[in-house]
Amino acid sequence: MIALYLTLLIPLAATLIFALIGHWKHAGSLNLLVCAATFATSLSCAVDVFNNGALMSPGKLFYVDAFNVYLVLVNALVGLTTAIFSRPYMAHEVEIGRVDDARMRLYHSMYQGFLLTMLVALTTNNLGLLWVAVEGATLATVLLVSLYRTPESIEAGWKYFILCGVGIAQALFGTVLVYFAAERVLPGAEDALLWSVLKDHAAELEPTVLTLAFVFLLVGYGTKIGLVPLHNWLPDAHSEGPTPMSAILSGLLLNIALYAVVRYKMLIEPALGNHLPGYLMIGFGMLSFTVAGILLHRQKDIKRMFSYSSIEHMGLMTLAFGIGGPLATFGGLLHMIVHSLTKSAIFVTVGHAAHVAGTQSIDKIRGLIRTQPSIGWSFLLGVVAIAGFPPFGVFTSEFLLFSATIKGWPLLVIPLLIGLAVAFAGLFRHLQPMVFGEPPAGQVPVKANMLPVLLHLLVVLWLGVAIPDVLSRWLDQATIMVVGRGLL
């Protein structure tokens, strides 16, 4: 219990400290330390959950079960590794004068603030608070997107702000509707928005209201997931913000939004008795998957390209949860982990690559393997992993998704297959010239810390070869929560 509180308090404190004290030489290191502490506490919290089941704070405000505990872990881990990466990276940015101290202050404090909101969103038991936290995440990151103050970055920031704000507002309306439905079941109760309460009364909730509510929630949180056609903010925000930001944005934020949607699906599908949420999610997932995969072929900016790949994978997960059934759901849950690990690793390498080449434009980055093998190879391997090649974990989840799809929705397999091939081609046609071949003149190695990438890829590899017992049990419990029956 203490661990959970600490997990939330440490980032909170850090946010304030950074905001008050401002930037100094070792801010980066402190940032790193804080993240390490958060990770440690979240780890002990996970152990706690593993030993004696789901965790409920006295105020019923926070609730950690099998579904969100591993996401908390992933969050803390990615936060930590990204902090490792961000220290030299941002230092380099300061050197070349892209950001000044004031903005570094903003950066660090908002970095922690962002992690805080993520963790709150994950661990909270109150659906309203969930919304508040997700909105808070937007607010925390919006200034970081426009950190460089270039016209592009400002434009990206504005779009991110408005689109997500409007979207999230709809989610709030959805939440209100859910609360409204809940109030009829348990009138006047203060805890009518508590997940732990609602999930027991799910069956009694009013279907018609919940149908409307789900539409609003899907459109709202879907904007944050980056579902086509609500995705337009995503590539801009990813490509224009500082790379550590992009890493945690597509590594964590999208996951959280998806987590929210799935939570609501767990709540609403039993109430409805039909499969409507599933159908909607399948539709959105398929659309996003295909469109993003095709658009990959037109990318000129390396970070933008990978943000599209994020859209594609979020679409895949949405599809998985939409299809439902233990296989697909297990695959989706697993994919949440492996994707956020792999994608953040890729963004780390991408950041270094951009420093090596001094630009983000794809056709200026060449021959990385020759210039700096460590970056080149890890970049290559990362993309191989995200493209779904074994023995990396992404393959495992896609394997599950495929076998579930061909069982449940044989016809969906055709677009799925084409989409995967198209997306793969889109990634590699850009990747190959970047890593292979002769480097152009003036492309010099940079000081890079490849530990995060190595760590992530190793974990992903591990998950691909053999899923550890702990995790598989959690995932299975989560699967049971979502679709009622598990695999083990």
């Binding site: 504005w158 337009n232 190959q432």
Partner: protein
């Protein structure tokens, strides 16, 4: 017992890949560690495979890795054993051939490490594919094989063409992998489990089983390189290092064949003759088109790659026949066809890797890719030339070498067509046999061209005139394979006897009396119907030769051979440019089969300022022009259209989410 040996083999292969990582800097270390381990892996694999081929019951094991509810099953039955032996044999030879061969790359820009690393993983991947006994492990091993070979193709990535080839290869491998995955998905859906035992137990409706079959056919065909899924082969093989080309073309394609056999014979079962007809048709098409395209190539390794397409086609013809007979209940004949196919797998592995090794030496010593620049190399590289000649004879299916036996068996299977009740099928099968005959004849023509242009005549460039014989290592590798080509050609009975263990797995009903008449006679159906005494053929040729030689002997002493310049019709001495070129050699065939290739020909007559006209000939590939390029164009146009939704105007974006909301609300409140 065999399984543990097989594990040793896999382990050694993995080690040969990973161990050099401890000394990343040094090329020598990589070379000295990797190849011996690869050889060890080959040896153990051969022993394991041989033992597994021998014993009837397969031994299996379950390792605690993989999915939590599906640990990875591994097993080794005669089928897997046979292919394991083939893979390991070529691996062993590659390990003999490699060390001296890769020295050239040490001067190159790339370190040796990636090469050795991915070679080891590649071999391990292939061996694991053969051992895997559940869909998940199979797919993992399969994709491991694909990815590592991708890195090997892309090893010399400074050339744009290599990157392009690697890209196309990996893309098609990926798509193929997805197809296979779906095939397994169907099976597991009906069999309620991902391990082969459950899948084999699954009972499918004819429709679904045909779907599964088609998925697997496309998936494995993509890797095996049947027309029109072959386009990656002629691009990937030429650019990979030669011993890798040998492994890929000689062995990896066989692993694909293994997958196909495993899927359709073992897991799917209940074969329909229509499948066989499809396989036979596609096989024939691949065979004939493969050889016709090969005839037109000038790049030695590209030519060999197209010949892989041809030989895979022949293998598929054997499989197709076997399936047709199996589908119509003629078990013995089905077994015969399967045996023929498997035998050809072995043979192709032998002579194709032999040819690739030879080509590697030629390329390395003469520094020429283009046949038109070679010539007269037999005097510079006598041993290589001899081994290459053996390879040429074998691949042209000429007795008494190994290629002939398997094609002969295929013929014999085809000739049993009339036993089918379905007359049309019975008539079409011999036509397929005629296609096979045409293929063989064209292959012979092609390899007369290759050997004649490359090794005989006068050298067409300084570089090839200055070529020198290579070091013992590569030579030893080639000699071993050449000897094996002859052995497997002369002792077919023993080999077939071994292969019958595999056929018995799937056709317990009946066995052909192929080996019933002793080691001397190969009698596919009965001694009355057809017989082939390979040892006697060799003996007879030798006998006639000796007789002729003895007859000549006294005269030889009286009139020793006199050397003189060749007859030049009285004008000028002969020079290299007067010789027939590869292009000229194949001109008649080009003219006869004109529509088969997209040909662009241009001739500029000699002008005042330029002596000598200029003749240009470009041979494309219809499959590429008519199937793959349109797809690519379609994709790009779609992308351009789709990009319109992202015009950059935020109000438009808001409108999207607005209308999405409206539409959804309408939908749910309807």
């Amino acid at each position: 017992m065999p399984l543990s040996l097989a594990f040793t083999a896999v382990g050694a292969a993995l080690l040969s890949g990973l161990l050099p990582l401890v000394r990343p800097g040094s090329n020598a270390a990589a070379r000295l560690i990797a190849f011996p381990l690869l050889g060890i892996s080959g040896i153990f694999g051969m022993i394991a495979g041989g033992m597994a081929l021998g014993n009837t019951q397969s031994d299996s094991i379950v390792l605690p890795v993989g999915l939590p509810w599906l640990h990875s099953h591994l097993q080794l039955d005669p089928l897997a054993g046979f292919f394991l032996a083939v893979v390991s044999l070529v691996t062993l030879v590659a390990a003999i051939y490699g060390p001296a061969y890769v020295r050239e790359y040490e001067q190159g820009p790339q370190p040796l490490l990636p090469l050795t690393l991915f070679t080891g993983l590649f071999v391990a991947g292939m061996q694991l594919v053969l051992l895997a006994a559940d869909a998940f492990s199979f797919m993992i091993a399969w994709e491991l094989m694909s990815v590592t070979s991708y890195f090997l193709v892309a090893y010399q990535h400074q050339h744009e063409v290599n990157r392009r080839a690697a890209f196309i290869y990996l893309l098609m491998a990926q798509v193929g992998g997805l197809f296979i995955l779906l095939g397994y998905g169907v099976l597991s859906g009906f069999g309620h489990g991902f391990d082969f035992a459950h899948m084999a137990a699954a009972t499918l409706s004819p429709g679904w089983s045909s779907v599964a079959f088609l998925l697997a056919f496309v998936g494995f065909g993509m890797k095996a390189g049947v027309v029109p899924l072959h386009v990656w082969l002629p691009q990937a093989h030429p650019v990979a290092p030669s011993h890798i080309s040998a492994l890929m073309s000689g062995v990896m394609l066989k692993v694909a064949v293994y997958g196909f056999i495993r899927f359709s014979y073992d897991l799917l079962g209940g074969i329909h003759w229509q499948w066989g007809a499809l396989v036979l048709f596609v096989g024939s098409a691949s065979a004939i088109l493969g050889v016709l395209y090969a005839l037109m190539q000038h790049d030695l390794k590209r030519l060999l790659a197209y010949h892989s397409v041809e030989n895979i086609g022949i293998i598929y013809m054997g499989l197709g026949l076997s399936m047709i007979f199996a589908g119509t209940g003629h078990q013995a004949l089905a077994a015969l066809g399967l045996i023929a196919a498997l035998y050809h797998c072995l043979n192709h592995a032998l002579f194709k890797s032999l040819l690739f090794f030879g080509a590697g030496v030629v390329l390395q010593q003469s520094h020429e890719h283009d046949l038109e620049k070679m010539g007269g190399l037999i005097r510079r590289l006598p041993v290589t030339a001899t081994c290459f000649l053996v390879g040429c004879i074998s691949i042209s299916a000429l007795p008494p070498f190994n290629g002939f036996v398997s094609e002969w068996l295929t013929f014999q299977t085809a000739l049993q067509g009339p036993v089918l009740e379905n007359n049309i099928l019975g008539a079409l099968i011999p036509v397929a046999a005629a296609v096979l005959a045409l293929t063989g004849a064209l292959a012979a023509a092609c390899f007369v061209k290759v050997f004649g242009i490359c090794f005989l005549g006068l050298p067409r460039s300084e570089k090839s005139a200055a070529a020198t014989e290579t070091t013992p290592g590569p030579l030893a590798g080639q000699i071993v394979l050449a000897v094996l080509c002859l052995l497997f050609g002369v002792l077919p009975t023993w080999t077939v006897g071994q292969l019958e263990h595999i056929a018995r797995l799937f056709f317990p009903g009946g066995m052909p009396e192929t080996t019933a008449h002793g080691w001397l006679w190969l009698t596919p159906v009965s001694s009355q119907v057809a017989s082939y005494g390979a040892p006697l053929v060799l003996l007879g040729i030798g006998l006639a030769w000796v007789l002729a030689w003895l007859w000549m002997h006294p005269r030889r002493r009286r009139f020793p051979v006199r050397r003189a310049p060749a007859w030049d019709c009285g004008f000028g001495p002969l020079n290299a440019r007067m010789q027939y070129t590869a292009t000229a050699f194949t001109m008649p065939i080009r003219r006869i089969f004109r529509p088969v290739w997209p040909i662009t020909e241009s001739y500029r007559a000699p002008t005042a300022e330029e002596q000598g006209g200029r003749y240009q000939l470009k041979i494309g590939d219809w499959a590429w022009l008519k199937v793959y390029e349109p797809i690519g164009r379609l994709l790009l146009t779609t992308a351009r259209r789709m990009a319109m939704i992202q015009g950059g105007n935020i109000r438009a974006y808001l409108a999207y989410s607005f209308f999405t909301l409206i539409v959804l609300l309408l939908v749910v409140s309807l």
